[in-house]
Structure formats: C-alpha cells, structure tokens
Symmetry: C2
Subunit: 540 residues, 2 copies
C-alpha cells in the first residue's frame, strides 16, 4: 500500500532557504587573520551562498563536480558548505594540516575541478599547486590585501552570481560533500556524503540527547571546517537559527577563551588536545574568565580523559563526550547521563561520562569477536564495534569495498574494540591494531593511557604493544611528564594498582618530550612503535 505523502527530497537547498527566510537576523561572527571580528547575519549568508551557487553554475560547474576548499573556519567557508552543493556540486574540504604531498594526492584522487582558498593559505597551496590540475582557483581576500594576479578573486566570482537564482533539481541521494579519512594507516580514502545523509545527521545532532542545540545557543565550532565538515554543526545549526561564532585561523587557547567570553558562547566542539590546553589556561587563572551560564563543550575525535571532564566541571563547564568517525558523518555516540543514573555515586557518573556513550538515533551498533560472532552487551566482553545507518558510509570513493572495512551483511567495521553495557553505553577500549594481546587475553591500551594520565605528574601517555617471547605481547608506556614534575615507572604502576588486574600493568616505561600525533591530533602509534623499536634495536 502506498502512502499519500509527498515526494520531497531532503536537501541542503531547503536548509539554506529556511536559514534565509526564518532567521535572517541571526548573527554569524568570525575572527579574521588580523584578529578583528567580522559580523554578519544569516541574511548575508543566504544571499552570498546563493550568489556563489549561481556564479559556480555560471562558470560551468556541472552536477556532481568537486569544488575543493582550503580554508579556515569563517563565513566564506560556510557559504561554500551550502553554495557548492545547492548548485549541484560537491564541496570537498581539504585538511590544511596534512603534508602538501598528501593534499595533492587527495585533490587528484577526488578529481577536484575548482578550488576556493583563503589568501593566508596561498603559501600552503603553492607548495602543491604544480602537482594538481585545478581549472580555476578563487582566492578569498581575508586580509584585504590584493589577490596575486595568477589567481581569481572570490568576491568577484560572487558578484558574477545572479540574484534570481533557481536551484537545479537535486535528488537527496546526490553527492553533496566529500572528506578524506585522516589515515592513521594507509593512504587517505574519500567518503562522499549525500544531501540526505547531511540532513539526517543535522537532525540527529540537534537532538537534546545528542549535542542538544537550540535557537538560543551561541555555538563556536572549534573543530576545523576541513575536518569531517566540522562534525556537521555548520549544516545543523542554521536549521534552527542558532548563532555561529567562528575562530578563523586563531585556534590557540587564549584566542578561544577570549572569543567564548566576548560572544558569550554556550556550546563549543573540539578534540581533547585543544580543550586540555584551554583547561590548563583556566587553571592558571581561576575565576578570571566569565563564561555564559551552562556552557557545554562537545569533545570527540579521541577519548576525553575523565580528569578533563572533572576539570571543566570545576569551572562550571560541562563536557559532553562524543565519538564518531569520518565514515559516520561523523557522530556515532554521545555520552549523556540518563535521568535514572543521575543519583549514582560521583565516580560512577564520571566513569559513564568518560565512556563513548549511547548510539545516536539511526546508528545501529554491534560487537563482533575474532570468530565473526556477535558478543553480548554486558559491559565486559570486548568485540570489534560495527555500525550501520543512513549517514554511515558503505564504501570509499573509487575503491571496491574490502572485507577488512565492510562485513558481508553490510556493516561498517570501525576497527575499534569496545564493550557495550546493559544501559547501551559503549566504551571504546582500543583500536583493533593497538590492542595488546597478552597471554591470549586483551589489554586495552586506551584504558591504561587514560589511567596513567590521571597521575598528577603526567601530561600525556601512550601505551603500545611490545613483542614478548612468553606472553606474545606486553604493554609499554610512553609518558610525557608535566613541566617540572617527576615520576618513575614504579610510582606510576603503584598509582595504577587496584584499577586493573596486575597483569595489565606496563612492564616498562619510557619518558619522552612529546608523543607523535596525526594531523588531527590523535596519537600516531605507528610512528611511536617505530621510534621505540629504533631505540631498542628491535624489528617493528
């Protein structure tokens, strides 16, 4: 039996029209390279995004063709987020923290046709421009300085747009955006989002059970817009008209704290490293900063240490712990305390908040063991976390799906090892590849790291597997101490005792000045293993 409902596609064109018609006066604030604040409105955004769409059609952008961006977080990037897809194109955000060679690889793999680039990022572009074939390059004059004659001016492109623009016909399954995995292993791989997946992801993260964003919120996406579409915030917030505050290129703790205070930001997003820096700043200057009441920070991209969640609580700021992947648009889980768990003892509440949390609507999750069997959700048994849903990828651009990434019955393999408890809270214990297999049992490197980082002398810790003749593998801890602090391996193991079975405790400690990281701030354990192996003369 057919429903009588209209066939109406879920596209970004609706969201853009809604932003312009329902919320013309909502503010969009962005920090410029010279630290000044640029103030605009949704009305400006609406007009300029439509002008961009019209202009891109004018210069011949065809359906499904890619427009790359090499940009910080600011209003013109938001225009590209909407203007490209509503013109029928695909916005492809380039990660400016990658090595120029990797960026070139990605531009070529995606077959990008046009590029929009911040003037302040031209020096980066020029490092790889000869390795790519971009038809036209539009430069955003953020600094106000003249555009080098080799390039075109983005503002002039916009001026060529017609105000009477009509959107081309868009199917909700049409490609709308493209991001590459950060690739801790292997070459980056392209994930292509559809209008539908972006709309459904937007609806999802707005929910009170997820980010909980409202029209009254002032949201500062600190997650770069070149990193999984800034976790979807720039597509979600205009749906309900919340105010946007962009940090531009100024991502240091001082600038972020200043902007939070100035604009009375109520919600931020970002990776733990970023917020650890902010927390250290607040601890140095207790009570100095006046934030909006009820301020929240959504932390993801890596596990939020329990100590960090507690630390922000002391400053009246609530950390909301989320987990996701580029392949998931990216939000998969959020850890929020359910009403009936509010009265648990404090330590249990923090332990729950430090878990990755419950799946968001329209993400299915299951745990599968080495034998391909689903394991029980008992909070103890570990298994590989597999997911599916309308905003989870089913393949990679130009690559045949392989069984190490996708199961035969259509689930995405996250390569995370996790547990799920009876309340549905997921705890990511490790990456499949980082798990330490000792005497036939599994040791979570992440659990050890988080516990070690709870030691007052420890700034950072990464735990890796070392080959062991008797146990197959044994944990080795690499620790960065806080400036002026000292601690031995024995002292740290004494601190850990009681938190874990004895056989989990690291056999060895190495004290380093820094732990190698990926461009998105995650520990790069592959590099760490190589470094330790070289130092000990072992084969990796």
């Amino acid at each position: 039996m057919q429903s009588t409902m209209m066939s109406y596609p879920l596209t970004l064109a609706h969201l853009l029209e809604r932003a312009g018609r329902c919320y013309p006066k909502t503010e969009i604030v962005a920090r410029m390279p010279d630290r000044s604040l640029h103030r605009g409105t949704y009305c400006d955004f609406y007009r300029r995004a439509r002008a961009l769409a019209s202009a891109l059609r004018g210069v011949g952008l065809g359906k499904g063709e890619r427009v790359a961006t090499l940009m910080w977080n600011h209003a013109p990037h938001l225009e590209a987020y909407y203007g490209v897809p509503v013109a029928g194109g695909v916005v492809h955000t380039l990660n400016l923290r990658l090595h120029p060679e990797d960026i070139a690889y990605i531009v070529n793999d995606a077959e990008d046709r046009f590029l929009i680039v911040d003037d302040v990022l031209l020096p980066l572009f020029e490092q790889f421009k000869d390795s790519v074939q971009l038809e036209r390059v539009f430069v955003v004059p953020l600094t106000g300085r003249p555009i080098p004659s080799a390039y075109e001016n983005y503002e002039e492109l916009l001026q060529s747009g017609q105000s009477e623009f009509t959107y081309p016909e868009l199917d909700e399954n049409d490609a709308a955006g493209m991001c590459y995995t950060s690739g801790t292993t292997g070459r980056p791989a392209g994930v292509i989002y559809s209008h539908r997946s972006m709309v459904l992801h937007s609806y999802t993260i707005l929910l009170s059970a997820v980010f909980g964003m409202s029209s009254e919120d002032v949201v500062m996406p600190v997650v770069p817009m070149f990193h999984v579409l800034s976790w979807g915030v720039p597509h979600a917030l205009p749906m309900i008209g919340g105010k946007l505050v962009f940090p531009g290129p100024h991502m240091d703790p001082e600038s972020l704290v200043d902007l939070c205070e100035r604009e009375q930001v109520t919600l931020c997003t970002g990776v733990p490293t970023m917020w650890l820096g902010v927390l250290q700043l607040l601890e140095r200057e207790p009570g100095k900063h006046k934030f909006a009441a009820g301020m929240r920070i959504v932390v993801g991209g890596a596990a939020a240490p329990e100590a960090m969640i507690q630390g922000f609580d002391r400053h009246g700021i609530t950390v909301i712990h989320a987990w996701g992947m580029t392949e998931m648009s990216p939000i998969g889980t959020v850890s929020r305390l359910k009403s009936h768990l509010r009265d648990l003892p404090e330590d249990q509440r923090y332990a729950l908040r430090a878990k990755q949390g419950c799946v968001v609507p329209f993400v299915d999750a299951r745990l599968v063991n080495d034998h391909g069997q689903e394991v029980p959700a008992d909070g103890i048994t570990m298994g590989e976390l597999q997911v599916r849903g309308p905003f989870v990828t089913g393949s990679y651009h130009k690559r045949a799906p392989t069984p190490d990434k996708f199961t035969a019955d259509g689930w995405f393999r996250t390569e995370d090892v996790a547990t799920i408890d009876a309340e549905g809270y997921i705890k990511v214990c490790d990456r499949t590849k980082d798990l330490i297999k000792s005497g036939g049992e599994w040791i979570s490197s992440v659990d050890l790291e988080n516990a070690i980082m709870g030691h007052p002398a420890v700034a950072e810790a990464a735990v890796i597997a070392m080959p062991d003749a008797k146990w197959s593998e044994r944990p080795l801890a690499c620790v960065v101490l806080k400036p002026g602090m000292l601690a031995s391996g024995e002292e740290i193991n004494a601190f850990l005792a009681g938190k874990f079975p004895r056989w989990w405790l690291p056999d060895d400690y190495r004290f380093l000045s820094a732990i190698p990281r990926t461009s998105t701030g995650k520990f790069l354990k592959r590099a760490l293993r190589q470094q330790i192996a070289r130092a000990t003369g072992q084969a990796t």
Copy 2:
C-alpha cells in the same frame, strides 16, 4: 556522482529497537478506566510491541493491510502504533468521538481487516459492527473483566507472538499509519503516513525550535491517540527515551491536573478547549497545585487565545502555540519567540506567541491570492496558505487529487487564509470558507473571535458571515457568556473598538448556551450558520 553512504531506510523498526536497547528502564504510565495507574517500562513496550508484530504476522497480516484501533491513550495503543507497522501493516486509528455511522464509513473506506478495541469501548463498537466487515476483533481487557465470547482477547493474541521475531523488509515509503480528516466539510478523507514521514516528523517535533522534547521530559499527550497519531508524540519521544504519561479515558480537567502533579509532567499537548477547562480549574484554586518547574503545554488544533497564553503564564506554565493539519502529520508551525525578539514590549510578545508561528524544518509555506499569485510576506497581506514537505500529504486515499486541494505545481492547499510577517511568523486569519467578504475587503472571523473572547464576561465566541445586500457579507457574533456574567453586543463592540477598523465590528450579536463543535473540538460553523439561519428564517 554517487554518495558512498549506506542505503538504510527510515522506519519505525529502528525506533522500536532503539527504545528497547537504549532506554529499557524509561517509564510509561497510564491511567486505567478504574482510575488506577498502570506502570510499565520501555522494555515492556518493546517486548509487547514485537510480540504484537509477530502475532499479527502469525494471524496472516499481509504487507500494507490495515489494522484499526478503537482505543484511548494507553500502553496497548502505543504497542499498536509500532507493532502494526513493523509487521508491515498500517495502523488506522479510529476517532471514537465520531458518529458510529461515520466510523463505519471510515472502516469501510480504509478496508480495515482487523480491529483492536478497548473493552470499555465495545458498546461503541457494537453500534456499528453490523455495518463493517472486520475479519477479527481483538479486545484489550483494560478493566480486567472477562472478554465477551464473541470476541478474541488481545492478551492471548500477544501470547501467540514469538520472541525471536524478525522484522519483514520495510521500505521507508511503505504505508505505516492512516488517519481521516475530521471533515468540517464533506466526507472524511484518508491520509496515509509512511515510515519515512513519521520518522522525519518525529525528528522535527523533537527539535528545540518545535516542541523541544528531551530525554529528561515527562510528556503527557492529552491529544487523543486517535487524533492525528497524537500529533506524533508517541513516535517521537521513544527516539530519545522521554517518559510517557497517558491519561487513558479520563480527560476531564481534574484528572489531567492530578496526573500532571503526581507524575511531575513537564510537557503536555492538547486543544485549546481542553486547556481552557484546566485554566479555569487553576484560577478557582490558585496556588493549590504543585507542577514541575518549567512546565510547557503545546496547544494546537485551533487558535490558542492570547488570554489563555497569558492566563497560564500567571501559573508558571508556558503555552507553546502550534498549528497543523491531519494532512501535515500534523505539525506545520510553532510560535516561539526568537532570541532577538525577547525584549519586545509585553503586548507585542503575546501577539507573536498568539500567532501560529514559523514553519518547522522541512515544511515550505507560501501565500496565494484569489488570482493564483503569491503575495508578499509583509504581515498584512492575506492569502491562502499553501504548504509542501516530506510529511505533507500529496493526495487522499482512493481519491483523485482535485484542484481545490492540491495546486498544479504540487502544493497542498490548507484552505486557511493567513499572513506571514518579515520574521516568518504566520498568522492564520480564517478558514477560506469562514472568511467574511465585506465590501470587497476580507474580515477575519478568527481575529474577531479571539478579541471577543478577551472580554471578561465571554466564555466562547464564534463569528460567521451573514448575507448583506449592500456589503455582500457582514459579521455576526455568536457568544456564550461565562456563568453569572452579562454583556451586551454594544458593550462588547465598545471593548473591541480601537483593536480593529470600525467596519470590522459585528453588526449583530447572538447569545447562545453553546457553540456546536466537531468531534475534535473545533467550532462547527456550518452547523452554526444553519442554526442562525433557521432562527432568522434565512436560506443558508
């Protein structure tokens, strides 16, 4: 270019699985016919809805076949809301306030195969059972009394379900639910919702900019579950695990207030008539009742009078004004004050809150005049409100779309006359058919009614057009006075003076003991016109 996202349908099966897996301990409370409270959990709901689905497949329910319900608001009705569609069937809620002949017409038009009926509603069913061909009738033993031998027991049906039930393959465009328009004119017409439309409507009403429901909310849907699927709340709330409180058959103000207090309800839904009764109760006993802090009531189905919004504010309860139609799943607009309008003078804020409000995400709206031209959104110019979106109907069951209901370019004609202001707030001025056309200008009967209801002596008012030789039509006001109060037409017109142009004021007043209403509580102006015409000896 194809996106790489998975093809994953938006179905109620996901919502049911989510409710059971993520929120097993959330409570569902329902008032029974004997006034006792039945307490269950989402875990019970999940098991019983799946048992129902399995049992319905067992008794041969095929894809797209209709299962009618004749039930109050309670847990078994919620089971049917999910159990029927996840079995591949279509849940068709019968409006028990209709005349038995109309119910029979609707059952036959929908070709319902099975019926689930509350035992307390069997006397109603028996008034039309001989006019319909239902294959099996399952009776819910709400009272605990034995089921008459002519019928089957719903609990026994559930027991026949298998616990290892696998959902049939569901397409998101499959029919999932069915409701009939209340039909102020003509025969009721069937609207068929899809899994997709229900999921998208659920996402929409959860948003902070719409109903704003969270996992912490305790929601009492007073809107009957037989009335446009209780405005979608029973499908939306389980998505985020909020607690549900059902009033059962006890819909009187005393019972509702008692339940709000007992369960500390934070959000209710209902038509103005219902809440006017509650407000009168509160005014009689000021300060007696202790409600949850921040309690909200979503009011729709008819315009919420400004005086009612103010009245509830005095008791610390916020009225959220919404507008919709059976054809819209049903929510189309919600009136919430935008942040930058918070500082307006009080009277302007109330005037905005008394408007129908801004369209919700994924509803498009436009105003069209008698010549088929779109009119400007200036807050003054009236036009017929036309809408479209993924949860707006594009036709009626078994009826060819007619130009009085659907435009050639695919919009649904609401038959409401409205204005839209520069901020996007829609104000419904009248039904197309109730608009008073006086001397070539339009007079809104609804505006007059709301203003008259602001007079301290007036309980209810309905304004209708009377034929007039000179002006074509002139307004006549039908007024029900509050008990023990008196007011003349002259006094009321003096009260209205200044609020409207002079030529808007009614020429004549009639004082009645009641105004005829539809089964869903709306003024039945057709009947009122006939009544007045009979009294004055005029032709209608």
